[in-house]
Amino acid sequence: MAEEGQQMTPEQVREMQEKLSKMSPEELREFQKKNCIFCHIISGKVQSKKIYEDDKVVAILDINPANPGHILVLTKEHYSIMPQIPENTVKYLGIIAKQLSRSVLKTLKVEGTTIFIANGTAAGQRAQHFIMHIIPRAEGDKLGIELKPGNISEKDQMILLDALRKKIASPAGLNEEDNDRGSQEKDIEEEKTRGEKEEQLIKEGLDNEKEEENQESDDGEKQGQEYDGEKKRGLEHELGGADIEIEKPKKVQEAEIKENPKRINKKKFGKKDKKISKGRNKESKEKKERADLNDIADLLAGRI
């Protein structure tokens, strides 16, 4: 799958690092797109075996497949990792995975398929462009994609569980965030371009990201508290039409705010904190960008 590139000399790497350090996040994104081999494949500049294309995704055959019929599904827009991809496209990817898997099973007469997504180099992501793999499987092919069971203490699991539940809202909350995406997308995108170099970023960024989380998840926290009460409402939402789902949660929230005026005060305090934290974040953003640019340069060195 990986293209064989020429390795850069240390001097060239240093030059690249200097260039990158002077670029803004938007310029960095453009730079990535220009050097992304998969963006070139999508635009047709580089030859490939395209088997399916529409306005959101392109499916090509892997040149070095794990098994014959190994399909790579690419998003037409350049996204590095799945969290950057908008909600609608993620949903569409699920449907495409199912349909391509069905096609593979029928035509190539294999015994199974593996759908595989890697976010981050630690997960096995070898390219800067988001890829979903659809790999045909045969019994005993010993590909190595096996999840081995392990043991984690229940205490650790419960701590993580509480944190996760708060993050992931009830059904009403999920729809709410779809609506808010339009206004928050730009902020989220900027955040997550940095998120591409996860190694340093997550270690350094955990403290700062928590402050930024408060901006996004104010609504989510409320609904996390209301989780049990809203389960039943959530079922109704699922059964109703798309438009109705979006309307109901807002009305529910408004009603809650009227009943509990104290919450409004909490919101105000929250906003003040945000203002303070934004200032801090700007400084740390710059630091992060510079720190991560070394990694970008190294990655690109392998590609160019």
């Binding site: 799958m1 088997i51 399916y52 529409d54 055959l61 070095n64 497949p65 014959p68 019929g69 799945m82 969290p83 909600e87 993620v90 949903k91 569409y92 990817l93 699920g94 449907i95 495409i96 995975a97 349909q99 898997s101 593979v104 035509t107 190539l108 015994e111 199974g112 398929t113 593996t114 759908i115 595989f116 997504i117 976010n119 630690a122 997960a123 096995g124 190595g144 994609i145 096996e146 999840l147 081995k148 069971p149 392990g150 650790d156 699991q157 419960m158 993580l160 569980l161 944190a163 996760l164 993050k167 992931i168 999920l174 996860e198 190694e199 955990l206 928590k210 959530g234 699922e238 059964l239």
Partner: protein, 173 residues
């Protein structure tokens, strides 16, 4: 099905992250890594192809959400989202599940495969075979919103002798 299926039994687990009418998400009882989560549809679908489009799209959306939440909560450097579709793919229970596995450098999990080299002929035959069936791809089962029909009710006026409206019309000025 039902009680025999271990994944169906997980619907009663204490480790549920999320639940709604069609599917639920739990922390794996035997995690490959701390934070290993599984999304399971409530209905007993054995393989991916049997899950309705609407459900699979929602499950993918949740998988993405859990993946980004894990990034924020834990000190990890990556996540894998894996669907084992079929026994040959390593599916242990005849019930579809989506695995979300957090990853760090040198965590001991090896999910890499060895790429093979196929010659041009083999690649071309595979390409042609797949292209033939691509007509079915891209058509979603999710119904688009139907346009609202505004029915104009035309009331037929009954032509009774008593109808005052008609009487007015027939009045000789």
């Amino acid at each position: 099905m039902g009680e025999d299926c271990e994944l169906c039994r997980l619907s009663k687990s204490k480790m549920k992250i999320y639940e709604d009418g069609t599917f639920f998400a739990v922390l794996s009882p035997k995690p490959s890594f701390h934070g290993h989560a599984i999304i399971i549809p409530k209905k007993h679908y054995p393989i991916l192809e049997q899950v309705p489009d609407k459900d699979i799209s929602e499950m993918f959306s949740l998988a993405n959400k859990i993946s980004s939440s894990l990034f924020e909560i834990m000190n990890i450097q990556g996540t894998n989202i894996i669907i084992e579709n079929g026994i040959a793919a390593g599916q242990k229970f005849p019930h579809l599940s989506i695995h979300i596995v957090p990853r760090t450098e040198n965590d001991g999990l090896n999910l890499d495969w060895k790429p093979k080299q196929l010659n041009e002929e083999e690649m071309s035959t595979v390409e042609l075979k797949l292209k033939e069936v691509m007509g079915t791809v891209g058509i979603t089962e999710v119904e688009k919103d139907k346009p609202i029909k505004i029915e104009e009710k035309v009331e037929k006026i009954k032509d009774d002798g008593d109808n005052y409206l008609l009487k007015q019309l027939r009045r000789i000025p």
